[in-house]
Amino acid sequence: MNDFLGYQERDSFIHKMNGTSKLIVFILLTVAGILSFDMRFLIGLTVFSALVLYFSKISWKSIRVLVYLTVIFAVLNLLLIYVFAPHYGVELYHSKTVLLGSGYYALTSQQIFYELLVLLKYCFSVPLSLAFLLTTQPSQLAAGLNKVGVSYKVAYAFSLTLRYLPTIQDEFQTTRKVQEARGFALGKKASLGKKLVASTRLLLALAFSTLEKVETISEAMALRRFGKKKKRTWYYAQSWHLADWIGLLFGIALLALAILLVSVDGGRFWNPFA
């Protein structure tokens, strides 16, 4: 079973950017996209991140399932918003244009506009995160985190997580099979009570084996004098090239634009109905 997305080796200029600059650009663009509720800006940002994903040469096949899942998730979220707050758009834009139906669930163009904004938020962030995650080697990402100002201990913990994910997954599958063999199945047919017992046993077994691993690894790291100094150098740290500076420039410019739009629009929302 391999359900995880991970680094994909390709030859693209996005792959050639270093982990630190990519992380900074990713953060800048994420902040810009979260901040702004300006339709024009979000469309632009979506196009931009789609281009980034395109240039990163990630195969559609590898991300297909995830994209479908996200689409389902996003549609569900939009429906939920409509069910619980069909007038939210009207409240936001202080105007009401009924398109269809009447009464509480009347469809207004303001509501459609707001829900499209929510959809656009998914549309910009998914390609952006995919392009970032799939083109960055985990070790470079950890080094990048540290360079951005995250404490090196946390950055190291992060790279440990990425390193041990496959190991823990294997162990999880084995433990689950062992429990199944002993009659504690987590299958679809089991009752809720049985599932609770089975998952608690699974968790306990996993907890013991994992905590033992924590002991071993931390002793090994202590032997290599981990954490004795305030700083740490990274084997995977990379130098900055032209592509990195250009990327950084794009990130800063787009965030600046988002902030500028907030002051022009008089708030995070751009109101085309006014």
């Binding site: 918003i81 998952s199 996993l206 790291m221």
Partner: protein, 185 residues
Amino acid sequence: MKKKGLSTKDVVAIGIGAAVFLILFKFVAIPTGIPNTQVNVAQSWLSLISILFSPMVGFFVAILGHSLNDAISYGSIWWSWVIADGCYAFIFALLVKRAHLLKGALNFWKVAWFNISQLIANLIAWLLIAPTLDIVIYAEPANKVYLQGGLSVIVNVISTGIIGTTLLSLYLKNKGQQTLLRKED
């Protein structure tokens, strides 16, 4: 006096703990019958890790595990819930610290303390922090996010109450009670 910051063991506990959290989050979810609501075993693991180590360790396990899971299974990170999850672990660990759950056998008071702490931490995280951040960050309608938060509180409190409590008591029974404690220096 304890040394400031994270010890080497804490760092490893965060790294490995987050990996386990992620795997549990992804593969063990027991559906309750209500759509979109499932019993998450990962939350009980998070509670155990927070007791065994420190509030900071719990916080980072939740932040790293949750955000990484979001990223690799949905492609985008839902920051408000990631932060809320981190706060849950931190608050819960702070609240149970005084109960000295790892010393001696589990009794009625300790179980009550454990469960009241998880109730308070769940309420703060999912009914206060998560919906508020949803509104501030994502400008989502209030009644929708508070309802989602409320549902999460119910599911998390019940699942941690059952699985978390059982896990802790089995853990203490099987482990020669004090071995995992750190030396007080």
